[in-house]
Each structure stands twice: as structure tokens, then as C-alpha cells.
């Protein structure tokens, strides 16, 4: 592989990992707990900003040309962990708005408004957030260990992102396949009945916002430490629609479906269109992408609202254990083997 191509592939893999992490977070809120979380971008942006400013040195560095909170030059992985904590904590104010007894669609719009407020404040508070310019020159974590070998570092960051995704998957899987996940789904299906069965709806909602928010912040942190810059204009609410489209296409409340959706929607589209020749005016391809995302949402909601990989039915074996994918595969193998034996006899 040529090194230019390797740079391209590694960057793409890292972007995929970031989108997958974010989509899992949103899926937990939307697909599992039934919260139409249109403010999701706020979790991502806050996590990215937190990780960025904690990794950066003091404001006086680089001639003091940018203003930001923090600047402690904290070592890896503290900025990432702090970003996750911030993501979980801002779930509280965001959750408080969503907790009001509003109809679910009005709640969604209220959250949309929250994300626009957040973005205006970030753009206008130059003293705190450096305004529209955002922050830049965020140091790459552990880059000094690799000397100047950028390509090796790219591959290292791919591995790091993959490892984070693996750990995140295990945690998400444990949550969705636990009694907690079941309580989330019960709340999603009928909130009033869940609360009559001693489920604390306030607590469950806040928890779903917090877990999903931490994952969203994690995705933002990993992205900002890789690209080294953060600007409010890169974190606008339409990005949430892209993730939502990925989840709906891939399969609501199915972690693997979400991966499929991310590979198809943000990665497939963004990269597919990269190879299109420049036609028409500069905004044309962009517009085409959004039209395609809109059409895809409509097509899937009409023909296959459950997505490519639908939510898995939770079955229990005779001994009361939850039947896993592996169990099902084993059972299928056993049945096919028996069939083969019978036919060969």
C-alpha cells in the first residue's frame, strides 16, 4: 500500500470508529430507552472540547492567541476520561428539560432548541470557547513515543480506537442485555405502566442520557485528539440526523445493526461521494448527500422500519439463561448436522 493510501485508510477507519461510538450512545438513548435525543451533538461537542482543552497546554502557549477553559496539559488518557465524565454530567441539565411531561415529539423539538442554544453560546463566548475559531493545535496523545513516524502513529491510533470500540461494545452489550436494559425498553414501550411497576422513570431517563452522553463525549474526545482542532461550526445539530439515519437504517436497538448503519450512511456516503467528479456548483454534491439521506430515511421507515438487522428477541433457555447469538448459532449447527447425518444414512 502506498503511504498516501494508508493515510486515507487509517483516517477512514478512525472516523468509522468515532461514528460507531457516537451511534451506540445515541442508540442507547433513542433505540433502547426511547428518548428522541436531538441534543446528542451537545454531548459529543462537550466531550471533544473537554478533551481538547485538557490536553492543551496553558493559554499562553503559542503566543496566547486562543482562549479556553483549562489548559492543564494533562497526560493521556486523563483528557478522554474527563470528557466522558463531562458527557455524563451534562446529561443532568439536558435530561431535566426532557423530563418535563411533554409529548415526546415536543420533547424532541425542545432538545433541538437546546443544541442550537449551546452552539450559539460556544460561538459567541470568545473568552471561554475562543468563538467561532474554536481551538487548534491540540497535541496528539502519546505522539512523542513514535518520534516523527506519522504513518505508524496513524496505525497506532486506529488500534487505539478499535480497542476503545471493543470495550464500549462490551459495556453497551452488558447494559442492553441486563435487567437494566429491559427496564429501559419497558419505559420506551409504556412509560406510565413502567412507573406503576416501581420503575423510577426520572432515574432511568437520566441514566440513559448519562450513559449515552458519556459515549457521545468519548467519540468527540477521540476525534478531537486525532484531528487536533475543535470549532463550534463542526458540531451542529444536523450531524445528529446523520447518526439517527445510520441507526434507523442499520436497525434500532441492535448494536451490530448500528455498526452496519454507520458503515453505510456516514462512511459509505461521505466516502462514496468523494470519488464523484466535481460537477455543478460547489454545494451540489453536499446537497445530493443530504437528499439521499432524507430519501433513505423515508424508504427505510416505509419498507423496513426495523432496519437491516432488527432488534433481537430475548429468549430464555429452560434453565432460565438468556439465549445468546452463540447459543443460536450452535443450535443451528446442531440441527444442520443432524439433518446431514439423517440424509446420509
Amino acid at each position: 500500500m502506498s503511504s498516501a493510501f494508508q493515510f486515507y485508510v487509517t483516517t477512514l477507519l478512525i472516523y468509522a470508529g468515532v461514528d460507531i461510538l457516537a451511534a451506540w450512545g445515541l442508540n442507547l438513548q433513542f433505540g433502547t430507552a426511547g428518548l428522541l435525543s436531538f441534543a446528542f451533538i451537545v454531548f459529543q461537542a462537550a466531550g471533544a472540547y473537554t478533551a481538547g482543552v485538557l490536553a492543551l497546554g496553558p493559554q499562553t502557549d503559542n503566543g496566547g492567541y486562543q482562549h479556553y477553559i483549562g489548559g492543564y496539559a494533562l497526560p493521556f488518557p486523563i483528557p478522554i476520561l474527563a470528557a466522558m465524565a463531562v458527557g455524563a454530567v451534562i446529561a443532568v441539565p439536558i435530561g431535566l428539560i426532557a423530563l418535563r411531561r411533554l409529548r415526546s415529539d415536543y420533547q424532541a423539538v425542545a432538545l433541538l432548541v437546546v443544541s442550537i442554544i449551546a452552539s450559539s453560546i460556544a460561538t459567541n463566548e470568545t473568552e471561554l470557547f475562543n468563538g467561532a475559531a474554536g481551538i487548534s493545535l491540540v497535541p496528539h496523545p502519546l505522539a512523542d513515543q513514535f518520534g516523527g513516524d506519522l504513518l505508524t502513529y496513524q496505525w497506532f491510533y486506529v488500534g487505539f480506537t478499535a480497542a476503545v470500540c471493543l470495550v464500549a461494545y462490551l459495556i453497551v452489550h452488558r447494559v442492553t442485555h441486563s435487567p437494566l436494559g429491559r427496564a429501559f425498553r419497558a419505559m420506551r414501550d409504556n412509560e406510565q405502566a413502567a412507573s406503576a411497576l416501581a420503575k423510577d422513570i426520572t432515574g432511568l431517563r437520566l441514566l440513559a442520557f448519562a450513559i449515552g452522553g458519556a459515549l457521545g463525549a468519548l467519540s468527540g474526545a477521540i476525534l478531537v485528539l486525532f484531528i487536533g482542532t475543535w470549532a463550534p461550526s463542526a458540531w451542529l445539530y444536523p450531524e445528529t440526523f446523520v447518526l439517527l439515519a445510520a441507526i434507523i437504517v442499520g436497525g434500532t436497538n441492535n448494536s451490530l445493526g448500528t455498526v452496519v448503519g454507520v458503515l453505510l450512511v456516514p462512511i459509505g456516503f461521505a466516502e462514496g461521494s468523494r470519488f464523484l467528479p466535481e460537477i455543478g456548483h460547489p454545494g451540489l454534491i453536499d446537497a445530493g448527500q443530504w437528499i439521499a439521506i432524507g430519501l433513505m430515511l423515508l424508504i427505510f421507515l416505509w419498507f423496513r422500519p426495523q432496519g437491516i438487522l432488527p432488534e433481537r428477541k430475548h429468549r430464555y433457555a429452560n434453565d432460565g439463561r438468556l439465549v445468546t447469538v452463540l447459543d443460536e448459532l450452535a443450535g443451528w449447527l446442531r440441527r444442520s448436522l443432524a439433518l446431514i447425518q439423517r440424509s446420509s444414512r
Binding site: 452488558r174 442485555h177 435487567p179 436494559g181 419497558a186 416501581a198 430475548h314 430464555y316
Partner: protein, 277 residues
């Protein structure tokens, strides 16, 4: 309120005397006193007072708009009264949130089916069980080994209920695919999984065919004989006559009378408000 509160059923009498001997259990499980509630100027409940005696199925009847459902919603914490006091097992629960009240063992069913549609029948039952260790974030993240034993016990318990209610075949069916009557059964089983001390049933026979209705009444009687206390809103007077004693009559937000259905049939004001209409 001529009819007596203390029933003629000897079994209940003995239960109550045992209770008073141990000093732990009083004859009244739930007391709602002088409850008022209005909606934008329309008074729905106007100073209703009811007592729910232990170990029986108390019927709550009355014409449409009498305030029965509102009263049950108030008792279960779904809406708050403007004034009045509700005590459950001697504790004032008036100001508590719905899930806290449910936690105390006061569990309700809904007039309109309220199953969790995208959960299987078995999951609908499992989710209702109280005190699940895997329902906290830490419990969930610690993983299966941490909550598996409790879960297996709950699955066993839920399957026994499914057998008892003749629903084993539907264990893996999504609740949204069930018939109206089957949804009723799921809702009752689900409430039982919550280990209720008092079960509030809001029209458990609504939309159920007569033979399944009789079956449900049979289940309720059996549960009562096991010692479960119930308060049941029901329009079908034959059903009320079969299982409810005492019966409380409400009209225009007030309690008109209380007694056995036979006693009530002879009271003029009850006849005026309800039986004639």
C-alpha cells in the same frame, strides 16, 4: 352505609383475628380519606372516603364519570389530589411518586391495555419483579454472573405464573401481537410478579370475551383465597356480585354507599344514581 364492614366469610374473620393477635396487620390495608380533585374547574372526586379491607376483593362501581378511575389514579400516585390523605399499611403515601408507591406493594393495572409491546410475554413479567440487582448501572456492567442467579429464579417464577394462567405457549410472543384478552392476562400476571400487597384492578374484564372473563374471575378468587387484597373497578354487575365483597358505590365524585351488592340493591339513593340511571 348500613352494610357492615366485617364480612360474613369465616375465613377472612379468622385471618383478621390472627392479624390482630400478632399486632402487625390491621383489618384495613388502604384508607383514602376525604379526597378532592378537579380538572380545570370540573370536580372529578369530591370528598371521597374509602377503606379497603384486607384479604378481600373490594368492588368499586358507579356510573360513567363517577370519579372511580380518577380515584384509582390518585391512590396509585399517577395524579395528585388537591386535598385528602391516603394511608397504605399505616403509612401516609399521599405525596409519594407513583413508582415509590408501587415499590411499597400497591400495584395497579390499567383500563386500556398497557403491555410493553416490544417485550416478549415472559419479559413483560420479568421486568415487573422488584429489587432486581441487575437493574442498577453497576449491576448491569458487572455482567451476567452478578445477576444470573436472581434472573433464573425470576424466570422460573414467571413460567409458573404462565402455566397457572394457561399462557405458556405464548412465552416468546411479543406482547403487541397478543389478543385483547391475552393482554389482560399479561397485565394481571405482570402485576403479580411485582409482589403486590394490594392490587388495584381498573376494569380487568373490559374488552374480554365472556368465557375468558369467567376464567379471569376464577383466577382473582384463587388469588384472594391465597390472601391477596384487591380493589376492583368493574361495570359488569354479575362479575361484581360473584367476587366482590364489600362493594363501594360512587356517583358524582362522592361515595354513596358501601356494603354487599344485595344490600346496596335495596338502597334508594344507590338505585337512583346507578341502577336506574
Amino acid at each position: 352505609m348500613a352494610a357492615s364492614l366485617v364480612g360474613s366469610n369465616p375465613k377472612i374473620l379468622s385471618l383478621n383475628s390472627v392479624a390482630s393477635a400478632t399486632g402487625l396487620r390491621t383489618a384495613t390495608v388502604l384508607q383514602a380519606q376525604d379526597i378532592w380533585r378537579d380538572f380545570g374547574g370540573v370536580i372529578a372526586v369530591a370528598g371521597a372516603t374509602i377503606n379497603v379491607p384486607r384479604g378481600r376483593i373490594t368492588g368499586l362501581i358507579g356510573p360513567n364519570g363517577a370519579g372511580k378511575s380518577t380515584l384509582v389514579n390518585i391512590i396509585s400516585g399517577a395524579i395528585k389530589p388537591r386535598s385528602g390523605v391516603i394511608t397504605f399499611e399505616g403509612v401516609d403515601i399521599t405525596a409519594e411518586a407513583a413508582h415509590r408507591i408501587a415499590h411499597r406493594g400497591l400495584v395497579r393495572t390499567f383500563q386500556l391495555s398497557s403491555e410493553f409491546g416490544r417485550l416478549t410475554v415472559l419479559e413483560n413479567l420479568l421486568v415487573a419483579a422488584p429489587h432486581q440487582v441487575g437493574e442498577s448501572l453497576i449491576g448491569a456492567v458487572l455482567g451476567k454472573r452478578y445477576w444470573q442467579n436472581q434472573e433464573a429464579a425470576l424466570v422460573h417464577q414467571a413460567r409458573e405464573l404462565l402455566i397457572r394462567f394457561g399462557m405458556s405457549a405464548k412465552e416468546e410472543e411479543y406482547a403487541e401481537n397478543l389478543s385483547g384478552g391475552q393482554r389482560r392476562l399479561v397485565e394481571i400476571m405482570r402485576a403479580l410478579m411485582a409482589k403486590p400487597k394490594l392490587l388495584l384492578l381498573d376494569e380487568p374484564l373490559a374488552g374480554v370475551n365472556p368465557s375468558l372473563g369467567q376464567e379471569i374471575l376464577g383466577y382473582l378468587e384463587a388469588l384472594r383465597d391465597d390472601g391477596l387484597t384487591m380493589l376492583m373497578i368493574e361495570h359488569d354487575l354479575a362479575a361484581v356480585e360473584r367476587v366482590c365483597n364489600p362493594v363501594i358505590v360512587m356517583a358524582q365524585g362522592k361515595v354513596l354507599a358501601q356494603g354487599t351488592l344485595n344490600d346496596l340493591r335495596n338502597q334508594q339513593e344507590v338505585l337512583d344514581a346507578y341502577f336506574i340511571g
